[in-house]
């Protein structure tokens, strides 16, 4: 095996990077791939809680880099998926504890063992971000259909171009189809037009994402969730499958309206 290293980045914070990493990891692993995710946000560790693994941490990425433990010892196995692992960030250190070459070395050690290495980049375009993109074969930029998120995503894409990271993809997260229909939110096409990179996925806004992160069980495991379906589709596209993009306009059909009137979950 030679793993593909995929870094999830965004520029702006709070657009859903960590949620994306957790969900893609779960979707890939549920589909039979061996996956390691690395939390690159040193000092602000979060991927562990989103994945529900916070109580199992003994060693972290800085322990591995500084030689206090073996790589294996810092890999926490998921509760349900036996081929899914997390290497947590250190919480009490800062981003300067790791260098881009440390990250590259660590990923090279992991590459023969797994199919995918997913790195959760911190927000911003400084050291932590540089660390996260250093080993990447592919960088997925997450954005929301909103002015500040799109502007920051464009900065990240510009830096990736300058770094000659050619394999970039765009994930538009938290798209609200009702607002788009009212012309009060940028559409996926608007965002694509502005950023000019390849689209990998569109994830609709979904309350289920908050509920699932409350429980530490990523929404990709919920067969009924639309956001979960969107993440599963992205995972398939990462594997090279040709999956059509979801149609969001169609969900506002008669059945959805009946469900809403009956107090069911919102679209």
């Amino acid at each position: 095996m030679t793993a593909q290293v995929i870094t999830i980045s965004s520029g702006k914070g709070g657009v859903g990077k960590t949620t994306t990493v957790a969900n893609l990891a779960v979707a890939l692993a549920a589909d039979g791939a061996k996956v390691v995710c690395i939390d690159g946000d040193i000092g602000l560790r979060n991927l562990d809680v989103v994945m529900g693994l916070e109580n199992r941490i003994v060693y972290d990425i800085v322990d591995v880099i500084e030689g206090r433990c073996k790589l294996r010892q810092a890999m926490i196995r998921d509760k349900h998926l036996t081929e899914l692992y997390l290497i947590p960030a250190a919480q009490t250190r800062d981003k300067n504890a790791v260098s881009p070459s440390d990250m590259t070395r660590l990923c090279n050690e992991l590459r023969p063992e797994v199919d995918f290495i997913l790195i959760d980049s911190p927000a911003g375009i400084e050291r932590g971000f540089r660390n996260a993109i250093a080993p990447a074969d592919r960088v997925l930029v997450v954005t929301n259909p909103e002015v500040s998120a799109v502007r920051d995503a464009d900065r990240v894409v510009g830096i990736l171009e300058a770094e000659e990271k050619r394999q970039t993809g765009l994930i538009i997260n938290r798209l609200n189809p009702v607002l788009v229909k009212q012309h009060d939110m940028l559409s996926a096409n608007d965002v694509l037009d502005l950023l000019g990179i390849q689209l990998v996925g569109i994830v609709p806004e979904d309350e289920g994402v908050i509920v699932s992160s409350n429980r530490g069980a990523p929404v990709a495991q919920d067969p009924k969730s639309r956001a979960g379906q969107a993440f599963r589709n992205i995972a398939k596209r990462i594997k090279g499958e040709d999956v059509p993009f979801m149609e969001f306009g169609k969900q506002d059909g008669l059945w959805d309206r009946i469900q809403r009137m009956a107090g069911g979950r919102k679209a």
Binding site: V147, R151, Q182, D184, L186, L194, I197
Partner: protein
């Protein structure tokens, strides 16, 4: 749906504003520098040919991830210059 009294839909404003902001971010040109660039460009060109400064249009446009400077500089016709 939110076209209150003919106001532009907010998504359209967002896109237009972003288009401008991104072009300036990508080229690292401030609007002031852009004005200076235009003035200098016109000065150079008018040393060689006669132009109509009010009809000149110089702007940055983007096509995917490439930016280009588009200049539309109408020249004053030679015959008119001679006649005058």
């Amino acid at each position: 749906m939110m076209k209150w009294f003919g106001r532009k839909p907010s998504a359209e404003s967002a896109k237009e504003r972003l288009q401008l902001v991104l072009i300036h971010d990508r080229t690292a040109l401030t609007p002031a520098e852009m004005t200076a660039l235009k003035d200098e460009l016109l000065a150079v060109i008018s040393r060689h040919v006669e132009i109509d400064p009010d009809a000149v249009q110089i702007q940055l446009e983007h096509d995917g991830r490439t930016q280009r400077l588009l200049a539309d500089i109408p020249l004053r016709s030679v015959s008119r210059r001679r006649a005058g």
